[in-house]
Symmetry: C2
Subunit: 466 residues, 2 copies
């Protein structure tokens, strides 16, 4: 890039630059005290990228860098920062600076922040928030953690049905700066939600028309107590920019915007995937969670599954005499339990995902079982033939080949049955289907597989078990 | 609900009604030939819900129901329908009706549809599309399947930097009806993208100001060949309503809106989860995929994993004499391999998800390994102590208790090492990390676990292996 004195800020194309280059340049400018160039650069970057920049630079430069941000960008950038960075920054800001941030960031971001900050930081935030906002924060904090109420923002555009389109537009123009989205306007009467109109519809209508005549009256809304995952699904289903949230008396209390819904969707996916690998979900990202917390979130299921696996052990002990006679039989155990586990988790994974996306319901159980049965037959016959032939050619023992082939068919059919029914049953009795994923299914299928295998072996090989 | 003659459409609150109730009412109205009531009802429902209604009603009523739809809702509803329903409907529509649909639906939806329809339906669609649209469809179809180009729409608002804010607003008002989103307007010069301005900014500015002075010039855009998963991530990162797509000459060719990004995110998550359960992703939903296709998508990995598991078998055969002396040793195999597999997949799952969300990168490998090592120590000591004590009290055999305890510690540490490094390596060499999930990790860990176990057992129990 050459020496910093030779850089012309207007000629740099930040969109084309890698994050690492931007970071390097920022560090050079800081070191060279080129503050006005740095300010110009920060103004040209997107607030989300500036927030990432803060993570990379030296801690003691952070307050300086923050003070260089153009005022209108500071608050936006602040809401994109990690919690740790926000906490550090709050501790270095003066009361006056903190108040400026709190005035500018949207209420839902403030609430999210407060929920995760230590008490002394929360106290400082609340001290620097005006009375009215503080009241609304407390109200939102009262909603259950995963509810629509806790996710919503109250910064929406509110109009009246008696207004004309022109009046509505000029209301939007006046209040837009403080609103999280202006593109959907809500029509209320005595605080009740009676209609909705998009800015697109307003712009396409004549200025003289009445809101009452252009508004959509069949408004899809959610209740403050609705689960946030459900809210994200609804926004995704209807491709809404925002959805209104009403209280028990059907009064409009807030809105939830699509960007928050996207975040909820990703969080829920992460949570499901974590649970499916026998872990308790952690609040924070991988690196922000301590080794001890990671261990804690992993140990409980490992203990349960380890102790359950001793059941397989007892069955094996029961058939000791069998494998003393035929030691070769033991060597097929990992292959049989492995295949059973994989087949079972294929089915359970599809059920868990189908249930999460509302593509599969409990009432489809019979249809699912029938389908999985046909799939299991197709799959198991191929596996049995391939493995039976391998064993026959490797050991020249037709009897063992038949035992393994037959065991494979029965194990695959049963694994798929267990794999597809357990998540559906879990959903039906109100448990999280994601718990019925690979680890638990494998442990259960292991027990069944070993039982089936030794039963078939002892019968076909005519071994008497005490 | 009482007899249909007594129903007053204006009094029904469709938002509060369950889908089943709406469907029942639609069927009653169809049966009673109450077409004007039905039309009124359809007009009050959201297009996404009307599309669901089509899935539920008798096939032969479908053309009738479609013709009852208010004209402006018909095309929107059509784009929400399943592919099968669209195909059926196209076959019953007259050319004139089909042309009306094609005129009204957005180009990106047309392209998605064409990509998945049989050739004869595609031919009919293209015959009923105007020349210019046909040319653009062909152009979009030329982009690679998972690229930004194939996902974009060309129906965006285009303005010039010389316009005033007032002129831009009146241009939006005139052209809004045909645009997928009007809320972000793009400024071009010689077809090149030079800026962007949101409707919010336009409304907040004075009518007399020039676009040049209010537009944002550091526009974040994507290339037509960018992977659509990447595009979805960018939209999510910046909370954008839409992102512009440019060609190799930096000319603006289209935009991608947040609703399509949401769908991509969900599809990619489903694909990852499917791959993580050792299946090839299928194009369609669970029920829309045949048993044969399901079997096909599951069999390849099952075969690979089954045959790999025979390695574990050979190791066991090698130690035949050991477990002839100590048959009890065999009974611990499922518990040890199970625990190893679970520990390994916990680590690999967190890596795969961390990589997908860009929270973990290959350069973090050392940090990750060190963290997983500490976690593995914490977890394995707990497991070893619990299981060692159980074995000691159950069998009164301290030697076996020590063998199992020690084997558990080594197996857990090694599993976590394999589990965390394999996805990172896969990413580094350009493979999909999702392939390194539970099934493959378990198979590899099984082999290592059995090897470690018998090694420790033969050494501590002083058994000589031939």
């Amino acid at each position: 890039m050459g020496h910093i004195d030779n850089i012309n800020m207007d000629e740099l194309d930040f969109v084309e630059m890698e994050m690492e280059e931007i970071q390097g340049l920022a560090e050079q400018l800081l070191a060279g005290r080129k503050y006005s160039m740095l300010r110009q650069m920060l103004g040209n970057l997107n607030a989300a990228d500036v927030a990432l920049l803060f993570d990379e630079i030296d801690n003691k430069e952070i307050p300086l860098l923050y003070r260089l941000l153009p005022k209108e960008e500071a608050a936006e950038c602040f809401s994109y920062m990690s919690r740790d960075m926000q906490k550090n920054l709050i501790n270095t800001l003066t009361d006056r600076e903190l108040r400026a941030v709190m005035d500018d960031i949207f209420l839902d971001d403030t609430v999210d922040m407060i929920e995760e900050m230590p008490a002394n930081v929360v106290a400082r935030i609340l001290r620097n928030t005006d009375e009215e906002t503080r009241k609304m924060i407390n109200q939102i904090l009262n909603y259950p953690k995963d509810s629509a109420g806790s996710l919503m923002t109250i910064e929406y555009v509110n109009i009246k049905k008696e207004m004309t389109v022109g009046e509505a537009i000029s209301r939007i123009r006046k209040t837009a700066v403080d609103k999280e989205t202006i593109y959907t306007c809500y029509v209320t009467e005595n605080r009740k939600l009676i209609g909705m109109v998009s800015v697109k519809d307003l712009l396409m209508a004549e200025d003289s028309m009445q809101i009452e005549d252009v508004m959509e009256t069949n408004v899809i809304y959610v209740d403050t107590h609705e689960d946030k995952e459900e809210v994200a699904k609804i926004l995704n289903k209807y491709d809404f920019l925002a959805i209104p949230v009403v209280d028990r008396e059907e009064r409009l209390v807030g809105i939830i915007t699509f960007d928050d819904a996207m975040d909820v969707m990703q969080e829920e996916n992460t949570e499901d995937i974590t649970k499916m690998a026998a872990m308790l979900p952690t609040e924070d990202s991988y690196f922000n969670t301590s080794a001890f917390s990671h261990a804690k979130s992993r140990i409980s299921w490992l203990l349960v599954l380890m102790l359950s696996a001793t059941v397989s052990g007892s069955i094996i002990t029961h058939y000791q005499e069998t494998f003393k006679l035929y030691p070769l039989l033991v060597s097929f155990i990992p292959m049989l339990t492995g295949t059973g586990g994989n087949c079972g988790s294929q089915s359970s994974t599809l059920m868990i995902r189908g249930l999460a996306l509302d593509e599969i319901k409990f009432r489809d159980t019979f249809k699912v079982v029938f389908k999985e049965f046909r799939i299991a037959l197709l799959v198991s016959v191929v596996l049995a033939v391939v493995n039976g032939m391998r064993i026959y050619f490797q050991y020249g023992d037709l009897q063992i080949a038949i035992v393994i082939g037959l065991a494979l068919v029965v194990i695959v059919v049963l694994s798929k049955f267990i794999g597809c029914t357990m998540p559906l049953l879990a959903e039906h009795i109100g448990l999280d289907p994601a718990l019925m994923a690979a680890p638990l299914i494998s442990t259960i299928v292991d027990i069944c597989s070993i039982l089936i295998y030794f039963k078939i072996a002892t019968v076909l090989l005519q071994i008497s078990v005490p």
